[in-house]
Amino acid sequence: MAHVTLPTFGRGGIHPEPHKEATAGKPIESLPAPHEVWLPLHQHLGEPATPIVKKGDLVVRGQKIAEGGATGVPLHATITGKVKPLDKRPHPTDVLAPAIVIARADGPEELEFPEDPAWTSLGRDEMIARVREAGIVGLGGAAFPTWRKLMLPPRVKVDTLVVNGAECEPYLTADFRTMIAHPREIVDGALLLARIVGAERVLIGIEHDKLEAKWWLDQAIGTTALEGIPVRVQPVQVRYPQGAERQLVQAVTGRVVPARALPTAVGVLVQNVATAAAVYEAVRFRRPLLDRVLTVTGPGVARPRNVRAPLGTLLGEIVAFCGGASPDVTRIVAGGPMMGRALPRLDLPLVKGMNGLVLLTGKGPFEDGYGPCIHCARCIEACPLGLEPDAVSVRVEAGRPLETEPYGALDCYECGSCSYSCPAGRPLVQFMQVAKASLRRQAALRAAS
C-alpha cells in the first residue's frame, strides 16, 4: 500500500459527496462596494453592540460605529456612506433585529491602517485588546468573540494552538481559497495567537483533499518573521465532521476532549484559518474585520464563486454577483449544508459567522415526513461521540424526553451525521434538540426549587 494512513477522529463520521469541485479551483473574487449595508448590532455570541453614530453621520469604511460592551465586540462601517435611522432589519437568525444601515456616499474609500512597526513584540494584553477592538469573532461559523476565547481562566494551560483548515462541510471552499490566497496572514496570525495563549506549537489541520493549501502554508511557515514557535501543517482524513473542534483536536493531537468540555481542558485552543488571518490584520495594522470570504455555490447558483464581500451586504446582491439564483431553488442554506441554517429569503445581510451560501434545488430530506425507527443502528455508527440518536428519538416521540439523558442527548453538538444516515429520514438532530431543551429545563427547575 502506497498511502500512509492519515490521522482522524476515533469513531463515527460520514462521507457525504464533497461537491467542492464547482468552486475549489476558483480564486476569491471581491464584490464591488454595495449601495447599502445592514449591520446588525448582534452578529456574535455575547451582548449586542451599542451604536455610537446617529442618523445622518458620514462614516468611513473602517470606522467604529458601535461599542462591544463587556461581553461582545464592536462593529465597524464596512462601506463609506451616510448612517440611516437606526431601525430593525431582518437578520439571518432572528426575525427582526436592530441594525445600523449605511447608504453609500462619496468620501474616502477606507480609513488608513498603517503598520505598527512594533507588531512582532507586543504584549499579550495589547494583542488581545487589538483583537477585541477589531471586532473579530470565530469566522468558522460559531461567531464567538475571539478575545473572550483568548482570555484563558487562570488555571487553564494551553500548549497547542490548532488552526482549523479542515472545512469538512460539503460544498464550502472559502477556507481552502483563503489558505491559498493568504497563507502568510494565516501563519503569522496563528503565531500571534499562540503567543497570546502561551502555546508551544501550532498545528494547522487540513483535510487531505486540500493539499494545495499545504504547499502555500509551508512556504509561509518557512519565511515568517515570527520565530520561536514551531508550526506544522497536518493533513487529516477527509471525513465529516473532521472540522468540529473536538474531532480535529483528536486527529491532530491525539487528545480526546471530554464531552461538554472545551478543548482547553486538554491544553488545546482551536481557531479557524480565517480568524487567524483576521487576527494578523488586527495586530499588525489595527485593521478591523470589515469583509469576509464565503462560498456561494450549489446547483441553484448560475456561477458558483468564492466571494469576498463587505459585512452587511445583502445576500441577494452577493448571489446576483454569482449570476443569480435559478428559479427552482428550494433551499437557501447559510453555512454548510450539514449544519447550516435554511434562510427564508435573500434580503438578509451578510454577517460575520456566515462562511457559505448554498442554494439547493429539488427535494431535500424530511420533506415527505419520516418513518418509524427500524433500529438499523446507522445513526449509532455515524455518531462521532458514541451517542444513541435512535434511543433518544423514540423516547422523544413517545413523549418521554426526560428519559434521554443516558443515551447522550446533552453531549450532542448537532453535527447531523445521524440524520444524514437515517434510512427512515428521521430528523434525529431535532429530536436531540427537543431532548436537550427538556433536560435543561428540568435541570433549571430543579436548581430553582
Binding site: 469513531r11 457525504p16 459527496e17 487528545r255 480526546v256 476532549v257 471530554p258 464531552a259 461538554r260 486538554v266 441553484g300 445583502l314 445576500l315 441577494g316 448571489v319 446576483a320 443569480g324 428559479p327 431553488v329 428550494t330 433551499r331 437557501i332 442554506v333 449544508p337 450539514m338 447550516g340 441554517r341 435554511a342 427564508p344 429569503r345 435573500l346 434580503d347 448554498v358 431535500g364 430530506p365 420533506e367 418513518g371 418509524p372 427500524i374 433500529h375 438499523c376 446507522r378 449509532i380 455518531c383 461521540l385 458514541g386 451517542l387 444513541e388 435512535d390 447522550g408 453531549d411 447531523g416 440524520s419 444524514y420 444516515s421 434510512p423 427512515a424 429520514g425 430528523p427 431535532q430
Partner: protein, 327 residues
C-alpha cells in the same frame, strides 16, 4: 436583485441525506431473497410457488388492512410486509396447504407486528412468529409436508412426502441422513445446491450466500450476527458427529443471514450482536442435538429476540470521553 425564489423550504439541517431509505433496504432484501425462493419453487414444484404467493398476499393484505384502519398511506411501499410474507413462505414445507400460509402471514402481520406497534416496534421476528403459530395450529402439515426435490415444475400434488435430512438424522442416524441426499449426485452437492427435502427457501446455500453477499456489499447487513450464528451452531454440534451436516442443513443459512439480521429484532451494537448470534447458534445446535425437534433455528431466533432489549441495555456504544473523565 435576484432572490425571487418561491416556496423555500425552511426545514432544519442537515440539508443533505445519504442515498438510503427504509423501502430501498427492504426491497433489496426481497430481491436478495428472490433467487433462493424461486429455486425452492423450481425444485419443489407448483405448490411451493402457491405457498410463496399466498404468504406474500396474506402479509400484504393484512398490512393493507391495518394501514386502512390507521389511515396510513402507502402501506406496502416500504416493502416490509412483502418481506415478512416472503420470509415466512421460505420457512414452510413445500406441501403445506396454501391457505395455511395466508393465516400464518396474517398472524405475523396483525398480531406479531401491528399489535406491538407496527414497523420498528415488534419484539419478535414476524415471519418466524408466524411460522411458530403454524407449527402450533397445523402441526401435521408443518411436520410432514416435505417434498422430494425434483428438477422442474413436475411435482404433482400426490401427497408423496419424504422426511428432511435433519429428521432422518435425528431418528435414524448419520448414515441414513446421508442416504437421503442423492438428488445431485454427492450428498455435499445436494446440500450446497439445495437438492434436498426441506423448507421452500432454505435449501440452496449457494443462492442464499449470493443474496447475503449482495446485502453485505450494499451495507445492509454486517456479518457479525450470521457468522456468530454459524459459529454457535458449530460449537453446539461439534460433538454430534456431523457438525458440517448441521451447518449445511435446515434453515440455518436463511435464518442466520436473513432473519437473525432483522434490524428491528436484533441488538444495535456489535458486541450485542455477537452475543445475540452466538446464543442463536448455540440454541439451534442444542435443539437439534438434544431437543424434541430436528430443526432449531426458528425457535432459537425467537428466544434470542426476547434478549434483544436486554442486550441493547448491556452492550452500549462506547461514549467518547464522557464529561469529567480524564483522557
Amino acid at each position: 436583485m435576484s432572490g425571487g425564489a418561491r416556496e423555500l423550504v425552511l426545514s432544519p439541517g442537515p440539508h443533505l441525506h445519504a442515498d438510503v431509505s427504509t423501502s430501498r433496504i427492504m426491497w433489496t432484501v426481497n430481491a436478495a431473497l428472490a433467487p433462493a425462493a424461486l429455486w425452492g419453487a423450481f425444485v419443489f414444484g407448483w405448490n411451493a410457488l402457491a405457498v410463496i404467493a399466498a404468504a406474500i398476499a396474506g402479509a400484504a393484505g393484512s398490512e393493507w388492512l391495518v394501514a386502512r384502519w390507521q389511515k396510513r398511506p402507502h402501506p406496502l411501499r416500504d416493502g416490509s410486509a412483502v418481506c415478512t410474507g416472503l420470509l415466512l413462505a421460505m420457512t414452510l414445507p413445500p406441501l403445506v396447504p396454501w391457505w395455511t400460509a395466508v393465516l400464518g402471514a396474517a398472524f405475523a402481520i396483525l398480531v406479531v407486528k401491528a399489535m406491538f406497534g407496527g414497523l420498528g416496534y415488534n419484539l419478535f421476528n414476524p415471519a418466524l412468529a408466524g411460522r411458530a403459530f403454524m407449527m402450533a395450529t397445523f402441526p401435521l402439515a408443518m411436520t410432514a409436508g416435505w417434498a422430494a426435490p425434483r428438477a422442474g415444475f413436475t411435482v404433482a400434488l400426490d401427497g408423496l412426502t419424504t422426511p428432511t435430512p435433519l429428521a432422518v438424522l435425528k431418528e435414524q442416524g448419520l448414515e441414513a441422513a446421508f442416504r437421503t441426499l442423492t438428488a445431485a449426485g454427492s450428498p455435499w452437492a445436494s446440500l450446497v445446491l439445495g437438492f434436498r427435502p426441506g423448507s421452500i427457501g432454505e435449501g440452496s446455500v449457494v443462492l442464499l450466500a449470493l443474496g447475503a453477499a449482495v446485502l453485505v456489499a450494499r451495507g445492509i447487513i454486517r456479518l457479525t450476527i450470521p457468522l456468530a450464528v454459524l459459529a454457535g451452531t458449530a460449537i453446539a454440534t461439534a460433538f454430534s458427529g456431523a457438525p458440517l451436516l448441521h451447518l449445511l442443513s435446515g434453515g440455518l443459512w436463511l435464518g442466520a443471514f436473513f432473519m437473525a439480521t432483522d434490524y428491528v429484532t436484533a441488538p444495535t451494537t456489535r458486541d450485542g450482536q455477537l452475543v445475540f448470534g452466538l446464543v442463536i447458534g448455540l440454541l439451534t445446535g442444542l435443539i437439534r442435538v438434544f431437543g424434541g425437534y430436528p430443526e432449531g433455528i426458528c425457535y432459537a431466533i425467537l428466544i434470542a429476540n426476547t434478549l434483544t432489549p436486554a442486550l441493547n441495555l448491556w452492550f452500549r456504544p462506547k461514549r467518547v470521553a464522557l464529561a469529567g473523565t480524564p483522557s
